[in-house]
Symmetry: C3
Subunit: 336 residues, 3 copies
């Protein structure tokens, strides 16, 4: 039987199809309940995700497209983190950069993956000194970034997390001083701005020592509801055996609050870009994933790129690196 559709009917079916796809895209809003992330139905979610490189870099390399996201989905990610470098944000311009985020959030959502938007600076926001010029920002730009993100994506359920400041560090005081109380106050200001502008996602708060150290949370957590804490426990931050030290340094926080490791990963010493504190081997992979899984801690592997280190793949066919082989297998092993 041959079917002829007139234009109106065809349009109707097309709209239905679009609507169907669209309804697939609307992910359940993630929120904080006790020390966990939960969906709207109250079910606990643990995230195992992948870091993209800077969307601006990927776009310039013509890699910021849906197939990149499909590959991350194929590797088993249920979360992707976008590291937005302040200097890229400024150079590309707010409007143009937001288009990249629009696309990435759309693709992630269509594939059922959540998104972390990460203000990817490294240094001391109080003195406005940074590890490198590419991380340069100031309080005014940082506040404005979160105001913009809150307004634009605050109601978008795909954007589950706002990582307020990637890696706070004084670089052993080379970047001046900042106390934990001062850092808390800056985070509270950012959280207040996000929420006043409609941000319904979860703010992520990092500690000092390049987002490794959460020890001050024991006596002085933020007096703000609905947030989670971040650590970046790269292998060389501590000597083996790691577990007890990790518990003292950041793992204990999970007793009371949700914790997400937004950067983990390793390089073999022979790998390109190998540098302290990331040099290790698969034993690190086993230890950090077992530790996290046991405690229900979420994690995001750094980095789904073939040039930045520790790289997860080595060529345009997404052939896994040693590091990539480990985590591709691991992420694919989870039954959610």
């Amino acid at each position: 039987m041959k079917i002829f559709l007139n234009k109106t009917v065809a349009t109707f079916i097309l709209l239905l199809a679009i609507n169907f796809v669209h309804s697939q895209e609307v992910l359940s809003r993630i929120s904080v309940s006790g020390n966990s992330f939960v969906k709207e139905d109250g079910k606990i979610v643990v995230f195992r995700g992948l870091n993209t490189s800077d969307p601006d870099k990927l776009e310039r390399q013509q890699l910021w497209n849906k197939s990149y996201f499909e590959e991350m989905k194929h590797w088993g990610a249920n979360l992707v983190r976008f590291p937005v470098h302040p200097t890229a944000w400024k150079k590309r311009g707010k409007e143009s950069y937001l288009k990249l985020l629009d696309d990435g959030i759309q693709w992630a959502g269509e594939l059922g993956m959540y998104v972390v938007i990460d203000w990817h600076s490294i240094g001391n926001l109080r003195t406005e000194m940074y590890q490198h010029d590419m991380y340069d920002t100031d309080k005014k730009q940082t506040f404005d970034f979160w105001r913009t993100i809150g307004k634009k994506y605050g109601k978008n359920t795909t954007v589950a997390f706002y990582e307020l400041f990637n890696e706070p560090t004084t670089y052993n005081n080379e970047l001046g001083t900042i106390t934990w109380e001062q850092w808390k106050e800056l985070n509270k200001e950012m959280i207040g701005i996000l929420r006043a502008n409609g941000g319904e996602g979860i703010p992520l708060v990092a500690g000092f020592n390049w987002a490794y150290d959460l020890t001050p949370v024991k006596d002085s957590p933020l007096d703000v509801e609905g947030i989670a804490y971040v650590s970046h426990p790269y292998p060389q931050k501590r000597e083996k055996p790691w577990e007890e030290k990790w518990t003292k340094d950041w793992g204990f926080v999970k007793d009371k609050y949700p914790v997400i490791l937004t950067e983990i990963g390793f390089c073999g010493p022979e790998d390109p870009g190998a540098h302290s504190p990331v040099v290790s081997d698969e034993s690190y992979g086993d230890t950090i994933t077992n530790y996290s899984d046991e405690k229900g801690i979420s994690y995001v592997v750094w980095v789904f790129d073939k040039e930045w280190a520790p790289r997860l793949y080595i060529d345009e066919k997404y052939t896994p690196s040693r590091h990539g082989k480990y985590f591709k297998k691991k992420l694919q092993s989870y039954k959610y």
Copy 2:
């Protein structure tokens, strides 16, 4: 009879005439006495004035000239307020903008009208976040503006008022936080800078909620002499009946300190640019002017322009709008 003047006599007469005009220009210095503005002879003055639009805009439209000031005088204004947008100040350049102010102050003074210089930003000076990019400034630029104004016009008696910051607001915390104590400290810094640089005019201090709310003044006024407080009680800031609410929100301040409403006005709902909180009718005009007159509160109507809203006139002949008809009649009715 035909008169022949030789050149010397003509010059002499010309100089006399100039001197006469000039002596007319020197207005009595306005100062604060108790809860009032007074002239040098101690006589209380109540101001009823008009807001110009930004002198930069008027100059670009070739409207920044003496006839514009003559028209405001004709409407009954004894005070004019110049809203200097920080971005216009920056774009035009300090030297060039000061020439506009020179002219405006000169024309106003020649016509016996006093001047408010108003740093026309809207937002949170502490976090340096603003309602719109056109209001963008920072503490450094703001302090430098008042240093410049103090130095340049501090002894000029026509410049009666320095309105330190037009409309402080956190925009319901979208622009971050600022406490009343922090706001007081910023105002004291600006007042200190003005006075150290020779500013003998009266600093005007506004409260939060777009310069509407002065309730914190009850318990925590600035510990500085010789200042006045500002409110912008547009009609929709409160529901009718207004009087009691106004008294609680800002009117009570007049019991102790001088108060000036540097922006009042209304649009009919049909008028171009009608927007919350300015939509109302002549009943607002009656209420706010009666309220002010009873208490001896000064006011300045927004805005003597044919494009900005609520506009007071509608064409190049200064034909009054509905709003303009109301206030032209009202201002012309005062017997000083």
Copy 3:
């Protein structure tokens, strides 16, 4: 006898020679002991030096060369001070300016003279307001400057001193307010940054009133070891007789801490550029040098330039001015 050297031997000798010259350059590290500056062997040093003008200016005039340093050495200086204007630092660019400093430090060291690197701003670093646009800077740039200097010259023993901020002043509050406690905190931040970045030289801390006034040090010194205090006691800061007043204003500090007068000097009233507070005569020279010598206070004369005032020489042959004649003779008279 004719000697033939083969290439290897020639290179060896060359290296020896370079090494010899180099070993001459390595000056003993200066540190603080009690209220004195000492060399590594514990021997007290008192400095009598000369201010260069801004290296950027000298280079543009093709005067930034070794003969300029040889002349200062010939005049008897054992210390030279480089006033780095923030705006010159910015305009020339960090990398290019550092090359000037590299050369100057090298030449000074070869001649056995120590160096003060002086961040030559005048004003209020807290409000970021300055006496003149050429002194414009902000906290971020200032912190970054000292981070850069600490990293680059921290181990270089020729660079004995870091003068954190040339002349702090509120200009009688025209530049806003700053308390002594706020000023101490800014200095401590800068000292911390310098030291964390490897700066082993001695930080120099100035007081208010254009670096004249150290009275707050009596009750509230910085709680930091290994620093010295600065005064700029130009002749007209106080009326004659000076000694008692100087002791009360800054001289008393030498009872506990090292003191260095990084700017002294005078103009006759007839000299070019004569301005308050520098107008005086040789009696000032006698008084300030006797006062300093008696107490073991170091000093640096302003300024080894033929255009800036008070100038020390008047032409390209380094012919001394009246001021120069006085101090050339004085500096040459010391037996170290």
